[in-house]
């Protein structure tokens, strides 16, 4: 193994890669643009939809209620509600989004109230449809207010204090610092993103430098030079690793910058030297504080992800090496992404916590430990096991890549 040879191969591959539009797209342009697009494009659309839903005066139909004129009048005056003529098929009208909800006021509702009965009002809506959910919510708020007012009137009638039905008040206060909140909220998402980007960043260069070279006939040319094959593998592998890490780092940087800008735009003052980050819609919803990530946690994540990037790069390199053409390599590598996504998604799920057994499961262990580190939890024993096992897996994958590159039936597969 000669460092000079490895460096020569690496620098040539780097020069080749930066001149290749497809590599630039997959390693630099897409990872850099995807976050701003998510924050400012999809995020803006989402927040616009949410704002529209929040501001909308919901059209509702009233079924019955002819003998309850006071309730009907109050409904018509409610600020977020607009009572419209009741369609014959009001259920269909909700489905067709012509009205958002319907309130079924039973016969004798007001009389029942006065008599002390407990009549039941039914609110019909279309579950899962945002505007209908909001409309039903507005109707429910009106009914809650009406119920409270009824209780207050009855208490007053009997000369009783309001505290009889509301003996104490309570409130909720957050004591978690913003970065811990951010860690918990984004702890699952950020590792997932990093894992996926590490994989996709390695994909194109790995396929191009192996199957692509075979297809273009340059592999045989390269093998003619008097350089040990291990030097060729390592030089090429380093370029694949560069692609993997570049895609991940660029995306993280882009995410940090986008989130900081999104924070400034949406919440008036996130940042303060911390890396702010937010997912879709979160920025708009959290009016007071953007979720933030502890920079130490992020550094820990980057350290942990390095051997996994090596593992991905070596594995994709090895698999692509089998293929005779770029297209064939794609058909081998594309399904691998599901093997990567599955443990990464499992790691995102709440309630799945790190233990000694899971610490040995590749990808899942990274996802779980990153979630912990971003939440400010540092289990050094698990971190040691995960880093160590990831290094071992990476070394095995790299050794496999070197072995495959030395196999004639792989390199000259016809």
């Amino acid at each position: 193994m000669h460092l000079r040879n490895i460096l020569t191969v690496y620098l040539k591959e780097l020069k080749d890669a930066v001149r290749d539009r497809r590599t630039l797209m997959s390693v630099i342009i897409i990872p850099t643009l995807v976050m701003p697009l998510m924050f400012f494009g999809v995020g803006k659309i989402m927040s616009g939809v949410m704002k529209k839903a929040a501001d909308e005066v919901s059209a509702v139909a009233v079924i019955g209620g002819e003998d309850s004129p006071a309730v009907l009048a109050a409904l018509k005056k409610a600020p977020k509600l607009k009572v419209v003529a009741t369609p014959a098929d009001w259920k269909q009208a909700i489905s067709d989004k012509k009205i958002r909800a319907a309130v079924d006021i039973p016969p004798g509702f007001e009389a029942g109230l006065r008599a002390g009965a407990a009549p039941a009002v039914k609110v019909s809506y279309y579950k899962g449809e945002l505007m209908s959910d909001r409309g039903a919510g507005n109707v429910e708020k009106f009914l809650l207010d009406l119920r409270e007012q009824t209780v207050a009137d009855r208490l007053a009638e009997h000369g009783l204090a309001k505290s009889l039905t509301r003996p104490f008040e309570f409130s909720r206060e957050n004591v978690a610092p913003p970065e811990k909140v951010g860690g918990n909220m984004l702890g699952g998402f950020v590792p997932y993103l990093i894992i996926i980007l590490c994989f996709t960043g390695a994909m194109y260069p790995a396929m191009d430098l192996t199957a692509g070279e075979k297809e273009r006939g340059t592999m045989e040319t390269l093998l003619c030079c008097p350089v040990p094959r291990i030097d060729l593998v390592l030089g090429k592998f380093l370029l694949v690793l560069t692609g993997s890490l570049s895609a991940m780092m660029l995306s993280l940087a882009s995410m940090g910058i986008s989130a900081a800008f999104a924070g400034l735009l949406f919440t008036h003052g996130a940042g303060g030297g911390k890396v702010a980050a937010g997912t879709l819609g979160l920025a708009k919803q959290s009016a007071a504080a953007m979720p933030m990530i502890d920079p130490m946690g992020l550094l820990g994540v980057l350290a942990m992800v390095f051997p996994v990037a090596v593992l991905f790069s070596a594995l994709i390199f090895t698999v692509s090496l089998f293929a005779k053409s770029y297209k064939e390599a794609q058909s081998y590598v594309a399904p691998m992404i599901f093997l990567v996504i599955m443990p990464a998604v499992v790691g995102m799920l709440p309630g799945i916590d790190l233990n000694a057994r899971l610490a040995l499961v590749p990808i899942l262990n990274l996802s779980l430990v990153c979630k912990e580190m971003l939440s400010g939890i540092w289990h050094w024993d698990y971190i040691g096991i995960i880093f160590g096992s990831s290094c071992v897996y990476a070394a095995i994958a790299l050794a496999l890549a070197v072995k495959m590159f030395n196999r004639e039936d792989v390199i000259f597969r016809a």
């Binding site: 040539k12 040319t221 003619c224």
Partner: protein
Amino acid sequence: MIAAHNLTKTFKDKKRGVITAVDDVSFACQPGQIYGLLGANGAGKTTTLRLLATLLKPSSGRAVVAGFDVEREPEKVRAHVGFLAASTALYGRLTAREMITYFGELNGMTAAAIKARIQQLSTELDMGEFLDRRCDKFSTGMKQKTSIARTLIHDPAVMIFDEPTLGLDVMTARAIVSFVRDCRNRGKTVIYSTHIMSEVEKLCDHVGIIHGGRLVAEGTLPELRARFGEQDMEEVFVKAVGGEAAVAAALKN
């Protein structure tokens, strides 16, 4: 020089079992000579040359190229060999200069030596006009010249050509043939595989006829003509491999 002793190469195939691509082949080629390896498609020419260039390892037998054993010292063999084949392409995104420089660096040459050598090769091959243009925009002739410069950058003592004129137009093929002749004149050991009889007649000092992986006949052109009683090289070849039926059967396989 090149010396092959009982060189054999087998491959495993899932459908066809063990295939013997090169079967007990022995020959020698001296400096200042062109050894022509003549055979039909699939006869074993490319495998033989890949064994000599250490791209493949022999299953049995041995070969010595430029004084080094192909199995024990493959890197040293490659350091003294220039290998040019129809399948050895150029990096399209590099310029001709970058391509040649890369192979100079991989051959352990210094930057100054590479620069001087490129200057010399560029003049000899008339590459000045396209030396700093990207290879993916080259005509076939430009590509061949760049490939030749790539094989010669380290001034190897042994040149291995595997059907270098395959798919080329007449003028480019003539230039290649002329270049191969130049290599011989400069005292290099040259081995040249082809299935084009006219090239054999123009170039080769010694000819080995390979069929089904075996070297079925060998000698100078006059020796082969006398042995098979034919003047036409194509007839010599057909007789050497066992008649037209044998050629057809081999091609079918």
